[in-house]
Symmetry: C2
Subunit: 410 residues, 2 copies
């Protein structure tokens, strides 16, 4: 199957998770908003002063000048967070600080710098006889932040489907919300197979190697922010594997396995699919590495994607096949692979016959990409260390230095 067809098939099979849960703001980064966030009050909720100065009736001050200052009686003094309970009449003002509500009767604010203000002296509020001289007047509604200037009650501040980040959480907090309704994260189960693999941390025995695939997949899921992940290893026994999947099915939105998808005696996943009465989506995709991917669906809704056992094949399959499914399940477009074009700096050691995805290092500044040195065997782990992208070498390309190639950024 062509890669694009495989991706389309998988996305269609994915059942987006639309369950809604409430999470506190501090844990909502990266989550997807499930409902429109509407303002429940005007922002700001009252007319406020944008600076330190005096709330006045603009019409009282408009003719003020250095030569002919206007003198006003100061009724009181308020800071941001305080409210002046009285009313400002002709010839009166209230000293107020940035962010304080403009009192009833006042309609403009005079900047402190345009008065005779001195701390504790003229222009400060020290008692009922306090007065200030204004050297430069303000028109009505000058230096006046309207109630609702930022947004109005009922306005949609963030739309359903928005991926939350710091700025958006600031908006939500400013609107008074301390928790948000977001889609539940998809629950993902990862099962590696292979009788030859043992868990890292254990002693290495003859004929065994350590399980890397489970950690590559779990690590990539963590890189993308998925936290509802269970992972385990399973021996090459179709009955045990079918049982593991049956159990995982109850709690999972996606099951990813590695190994056992080729044609050998220990390639158990075909048998497992049959035992589980899975509906096959495809087996084998036209790409290298990771061609023998098998995908099936359980009970019309749960995709099971069975990747190759080759470590680099797993990494490639994850970027190309798993990410689109994760995007569909989580309703989060931020999960999509970031792709761009880059200029190949060196010849690809492999090319031709099939679409290939090589380990690459992309330099953003120059848009150049280097195919990494070292072994490009799909079983090789070490040359994945410096990899920051996959480089696509199309079937009909020679993969030569200077070619423009498509890059999938990790």
């Amino acid at each position: 199957m062509l890669l694009e067809e495989a991706i389309r098939t998988l996305k269609e099979a994915a059942d987006p998770v639309r369950d809604i849960e409430k999470v506190p703001l501090a844990r909502a980064s990266g989550r997807v908003l499930a409902l429109d966030l509407k303002a429940s009050y005007d922002q700001p909720p009252f007319p406020r002063s944008p600076l330190d100065g005096y709330a006045v009736r603009g019409e009282d001050t408009i003719c003020a000048s250095e030569e002919n200052p206007v003198e006003l009686r100061i009724l009181g003094k308020i800071y941001a967070g305080q409210v002046f309970r009285g009313e400002v009449h002709k010839g009166e003002c209230v000293r107020l600080m940035t962010g304080a509500p403009i009192p009833t009767g006042a309609n403009a604010v005079i900047r402190q710098e345009d008065t005779d203000y001195e701390p504790g002296k003229a222009g400060d509020f020290t008692g009922p006889d306090s007065r200030v001289k204004i050297f430069r007047g303000a028109a009505p509604y000058q230096n006046y932040v309207y109630e609702g200037e930022d947004y109005r009650k009922g306005d949609i501040l963030l739309r359903a489907g928005t991926v939350l980040n710091g700025m958006r959480l600031g908006i939500a907090a400013g609107a008074g919300l301390n928790e948000l309704e977001v889609y539940r994260e998809p629950a993902i189960t990862v099962i590696s197979t292979g009788d030859e693999v043992i868990a890292p941390g254990q002693d290495l025995k003859a004929g065994k190697i350590y399980d890397s695939n489970q950690y590559t997949v779990v690590g990539r899921l963590a890189d993308l922010g998925f936290s509802r992940v269970e992972s385990m290893h399973c021996p090459d026994d179709p009955a045990i594997m079918a049982d593991r999947i049956r159990k995982a099915k109850e709690t999972s939105d996606l099951i990813i396995t590695t190994g056992g998808v080729s044609v050998g005696e220990k390639d158990i996943m075909h048998q497992v699919m049959a035992d589980l009465k899975g509906k096959k989506l495809f087996w084998k995709v036209s790409l290298k590495p990771g061609a023998p991917t098998l995908a099936f669906v359980l009970e019309e809704k749960l995709p099971v994607i069975c990747l190759t056992g080759n470590p680099y094949g797993v990494a490639v399959n994850f970027e190309l096949l798993i990410r689109p499914v994760l995007e569909a399940l989580s309703l989060n477009p931020g999960i999509r692979s970031k792709t761009c074009m880059g200029k190949l700096k060196n010849d690809s050691p492999k090319w031709g016959g099939v679409r290939r995805f090589m380990r690459g290092f992309y330099e953003r500044e120059s848009s150049e990409v280097t195919i990494l040195a070292g072994s490009h065997a799909s079983g090789t782990l070490s040359s994945m260390a410096a990899c920051n992208c996959l480089v696509e070498i199309p079937e009909d390309s020679g993969g030569k230095a200077g070619e423009d190639v498509k890059i999938y950024l990790l």
Copy 2:
């Protein structure tokens, strides 16, 4: 102070966190490796078969053809994970599967497809008399994966300073490690000020607004993967604020505050800095919004960065001033802002006089950037919703459509 100088000053003041802690692989994504990861054994740890077939002495088979097949006695059968304890002599072979160790005496593997293999019949191992006919031979060391072909014991697989991701965790797992030594995450305390602000979730009272800044900063820290974050609000009282900072100092690598940095009566941070005997790094940076940033250092090592109280100013300061400090503290180059050039699609409503950072929406495909509609007042929250980048409008630019501008991706 120029922005670049402010950044340099802050980075010099930051004391990188070099404490080392062990974390399990599944929680190591995004962390920075503290020590070189060296291989403690060869990978693969034994010569292995890359395919399903027969381990042979290549020299026995090299002349085999369809017309003149070579017949070998099958000593046994092993799967990946199993070991054949005997030795292969002239005229003998071992049936083995992909990943299985090549037995002593054998030096090549014949593909199953190049034999008369039929499951349970010819070529399968059914007892001491089992035999296989080989139609196409192999030279010594053909289809033979050498011990250590991927890497050798002692090789450095990942260097200290590497930012861990799924692929690299796969490498570590493959090398047998189930936990890694990484730098401790910087501990960050966020303190918002302002007597007018109350916590989201509470009832809104007259003259009050909700605290957004605390959540913008905490949210951005979460976006970047920082989890050791404490946050709180503090009233506009220099003694209380100094006390909060004194307490936070004991457990923090960085303290970020918002509000109280201008010149008004409630701009307490200057007093707080003096009370704490902080060494001033700078006050005021040549940019808009967020110009009145104050920064000081406590006890020669703890930076305290005091941002404006304006919500958009906080967001801009975070990207331009806080991220470089976080990068320095965490020794993680992945924290650096991703910048690129974009073509401005519309005129900036603000320009000239000073470097400005406008709310923008960048389209990766076309490299075009739009300055967002809506109010660009630095107190406006709502127009931050669609923002996916900051757009720099230089001091001497008119910010006109068609200009190439620098973009800071969020």
